[in-house]
Symmetry: C2
Subunit: 187 residues, 2 copies
DNA sequence: ATTTTTATTTGACAAATGTCAAAACGAGCA
DNA sequence: TGCTCGTTTTGACATTTGTCAAATAAAAAT
């Protein structure tokens, strides 16, 4: 989990004592493969980080599971709307592998944001980065074919293909499993 | 432009003197219909707000214009990646109608963020809201049909259909103009 | 090693959307 | 009024992607 600290530092290097206070607010959590980290309908109180494992965020629409986010080792995850607006989420979060996590509670984060300007700045930059990523994905979804989106994923996150069942990846890309399978067959 | 101030207040009500300093950093700009506000390849230095008029953000891909954002009266616009990361943009921003704008320069905003914790907080919340909107659009694009996306737009922003040519709206929805025309014919 | 379960691929067909070309429409202007 | 330009619609057809059902393949459990 040193990597977590390193990653947080890249957003904004906090001066003491904000740094210690902020870092120690991230608590460890462990989940076994298949367990739910957040069930549907609850408010998601934590901003999470995967130290080791795979976390999947999905929702169900017309009896079908749609993967919204996949977080592998050393990446962040959270139910954006629920965490930011404190409303019950339509998303479910679960562990695809045994997971070692770190997470910070919304209350703690807000308190630290109020207390330390530097934490507020760091968090602002984290949110900015999320926005950036969301925007890139939006553009891809808006004007790339399924094939192009798959190729982009292979390029950007080849490890994901090794560790995540294709059915989940398909809906993450906005297509059905069958279509993904045929795209793969062609290449 | 009083509405701008009111809208900024909803993100976070600033105490003086931050409030005056922040508000007066928003400068007025005027563009005529058809003029470019930001041409392609430049760094987009401003976070903009439309007091009156229509602003369109688009990019060109395979000789085709793809609308990424449409801002009507009383709404914000910016080239997300360029503004946040200070890199040249692939987007172009232009005025679809005569426009009265207000905009704040990145340098000024950052300076105010450094100087006033409260401005930092307000901006953090603005970015959070953008992220939220981006996420909603992402979900729509990922798992709604073109028809559903059009109906959603009619519901959420009926004024847009009156003031923006359908070709632009089509690519904003991620479809071709012909498809949009056929969807409309059915209803 | 065998069975059971889960994940992935394949086939046949349907539905949605894209492409290109042409026609119809509408606003502004001579 | 009639012309011109830009916008919107329509037609014919191609392509992409989805749907449902079944067949394989791979992984997990016994």
């Amino acid at each position: 989990m040193d990597k977590l600290y390193a990653q947080l530092d890249t957003y904004y290097p906090l001066p003491e004592p904000a740094r210690s206070a902020f870092f120690s607010a991230w608590k460890p959590f462990f989940y076994e493969k298949g367990q739910f980290i957040v069930p549907e309908g609850r408010v998601s109180h934590y901003l999470g980080y995967v130290v080791k494992g795979v976390v999947r965020i999905f929702y169900v629409k017309h009896d079908r599971e749609i993967t919204e986010w996949l977080a592998l080792d050393n990446s962040f995850f959270f139910s954006i709307r629920s965490f930011l607006e404190r409303v019950p989420t339509h998303l479910r979060i679960h562990a695809l592998e045994d997971c070692e996590l770190r997470a910070i509670h919304h209350d703690d984060l807000m308190q630290l944001c109020d207390q330390y300007h530097a934490v507020e700045k760091l968090f602002r930059r984290m949110v900015s980065t999320s926005l950036l990523l969301s925007q890139v994905r939006l553009e891809a979804l808006q004007f790339e074919t399924a094939q192009q989106r798959y190729e982009r994923l292979m390029r950007d996150r080849p490890d994901m293909l090794q560790r995540v069942p294709l059915g989940y990846i398909a809906s993450f890309l906005g297509i059905t499993q069958e279509t993904l399978s045929r795209i793969r067959a062609k290449s």
